[in-house]
Amino acid sequence: MNKNKIVLAAFVAFAFAATISACRDKRSMGLEYARNMYDPLGYNPDQPNKNFKNGQTAQMPPKNTVPVGFEQDEFYPNSKEGYEAAGANMVNPLPADKKNLAEGQHLYKVFCSPCHGDNGDGQGHLVKIEKFTGVPAYHGPDANSSRGGLMQDLTAGKIYHTITYGLNNMGSHASQITPRERWKVVMYVQQLQKIK
């Protein structure tokens, strides 16, 4: 009966292998070898981290410091006065050339046009499908800014301030668009303001 036992064992092994390979679960990573070579020794930015008070690896830069490669523009607070002051004092530091405008257009398409529309008419895709409403146009005699005046008359500094802090239903885009990029977007928006 030794032979029978071997056959039986082989049969069980086969059934086991079949079940293991059959239930390839999409929620699991499947069979793995040497997992420790995959996991980083250092912390990934989105990993929990016990070394910091709030338990996160991603930390804000310490106060009054600027990371290498990040330009900082003059600071204007998020208030009516800050907005007016930024509008009066801030000047676009970048030259209005083709390259900057093209980059501004690309950034505008990604970050602004879903709501404000490709031409700045306030009719982006999200407005058309009624996910988001109340988006002002950049041009036209009846497009009022909610902080007074016409949208087409907004100065570069005011637009910059709005991108940085957001307004009404628009959120702050400071974490997505760097200061230099913001100026490129401002440059492109000012082109859209001229549309008649």
């Binding site: 390979s21 499947g30 959120g171």
Partner: protein, 430 residues
């Protein structure tokens, strides 16, 4: 007499007709006003106001009925001027949100304002035939699968019963014909199998089959070790890329803004979600309540949607589960591929111009309700593309620099690693 009653009847009928018609006409005009008002409301008012809840401005259905139309006409046309003039009602109204005066709308006509007010009074009409929710459709598919299984089971049962019946009938016929029934010798199954395995040829065949199946399973298992194609972990928030990137057509870079400028594509922090979800709460799909998935964003931020304030002490970061796990010993840089290699990758993977370059490796993300790993991310997969993709040096700042450096080498000029990008932090520190 008869004539009189007839005339009376006719007259009565026409009166009823006319009044019905005029009532219909009036309601139609009202509906039209409200429809026009809805368009204007969506364009000009909804940035700050909602009908039934306070936003930057107060809930209109609560406030508007308490005010006179005369006041509202003046207020909407130029609120700041009305407040400055010292109108007691206006001063009272300005206290709702002291930091923000209402936008003046001097170009709006009285008729336009009235139609907005008509819309506010009427409210949002619910579309006929409530939209079916996703849960319902999922339930249906679950039910249909259960139904198919049940049908199969029932049919097997029917087959068994039928075959039994046929056997019994055959027996009956044989009995009637007077033929003696030879009872089949019932051999125990175990004895039968034992008999089969004493046959050497069968044993050989059996073992051969076993080796082939086990071998192929083993081979496949080894090939797929550490390959996570199709890996689709459950995420803490049921974020649908199909909805955001598909239906809403939001660019990948809006949320993954790191992809074009750094090694990591970056998972957006919750402030990016709040850029839209401060206002978008999908209340229409949940009987006027905030969508439970959007509520999870608010909970994680300690955000109170009623008072629109953040409570820093209640913050609790969302722990997303990483889908694409590249081994730590392999270096991959998103910006290098998405910016420098974009044209080459597009050509190699045959992407359509309207598709983002991300689709080359991440697959049709705009159709994925739940994100999963589309490509194997194995070394073979990387190498294959690097062997085949065709690089064009035209209009590409990176390759222009490389070509310029090669020209310098040809001329025998001094060339340093810094010239070839050797000063970039991430060349060593990653």
């Amino acid at each position: 007499m008869r004539n009189i009653s007839l005339i009376f009847k006719r007259a009565w009928r026409s009166v009823v007709m006319v009044s019905a018609f005029s009532a219909f006409a009036v309601s139609a005009v009202n509906a039209q006003d409200a429809a026009e008002g809805r368009t204007i409301f969506k364009q000009k008012c909804s940035a700050c106001h909602a009908l039934d809840r306070d936003m930057i401005g107060p809930a209109l259905q609560k406030v508007v009925p308490t005010k006179k139309e005369e006041f509202l006409l003046k207020w909407i046309k130029n609120a700041p001027a009305l407040i400055a003039s010292g109108d007691p009602e206006a001063v009272e109204a300005s206290k709702f949100n002291p930091g923000q005066d209402m936008t003046p709308f001097p170009t709006m006509t009285d008729a336009q304002i009235k139609s907005v007010l008509a819309y506010v009074a009427e409210g949002e009409k619910k579309p006929a035939g409530a939209t079916t929710t996703e849960a319902a459709s999922e339930e249906v598919s679950g039910l249909s699968i259960a139904g198919i299984v049940a049908i199969i089971l029932v049919s097997i049962l029917v087959l068994i019963v039928l075959s039994r019946a046929i056997k019994a009938l055959e027996r009956l016929i044989l009995q009637k014909q007077g033929i003696a029934i030879v009872e089949e010798e019932s051999v125990p199954v175990s004895v039968g199998i034992r008999k089969l395995f004493s046959n050497k040829k069968f044993v050989l065949f059996f073992i051969l089959c076993l080796v082939i199946t086990l071998g192929s399973f083993g081979w496949m298992g080894m090939w797929n070790t550490g390959v996570h194609t199709g890996y689709q972990p459950a995420q803490p928030i049921k974020f649908s890329h199909e909805l955001h990137a598909g239906t809403n057509q939001i660019d990948c870079q809006y949320c993954h803004s790191g992809a074009f400028k750094s090694k990591n594509a970056s998972i957006p922090s919750l402030n990016v979600c709040m850029n839209c979800h401060k206002a978008v709460q999908a209340r229409d799909n949940y009987d006027g309540n905030i969508s439970p998935e959007i509520q999870k964003i608010y909970t994680a931020l300690g955000y109170d949607p009623e008072s629109m304030t953040f409570d820093k002490t209640k913050e609790k970061p969302v722990e997303w589960v990483r889908v694409h796990n590249l081994p730590d010993f392999a270096y991959f840089n998103h910006s290098q591929h998405v910016v420098v290699g974009e044209q080459a990758i597009r050509k190699e993977k045959g992407l359509k111009p309207e598709e983002p370059v991300c689709f080359a490796c991440h697959g049709p993300v705009n159709t994925m309700e739940e994100i999963y790993q589309f490509s194997p991310l194995t070394m073979k997969w990387c190498i294959n593309c690097h062997k085949e993709a065709e690089i064009s040096g035209k209009d590409n700042a990176f390759y222009t620099k490389v070509i310029a450096a090669h020209e310098k080498i040809k001329k025998g000029e001094k060339i340093t690693p810094a010239l070839l990008g050797g000063m970039e932090c991430a060349k060593c520190h990653y």
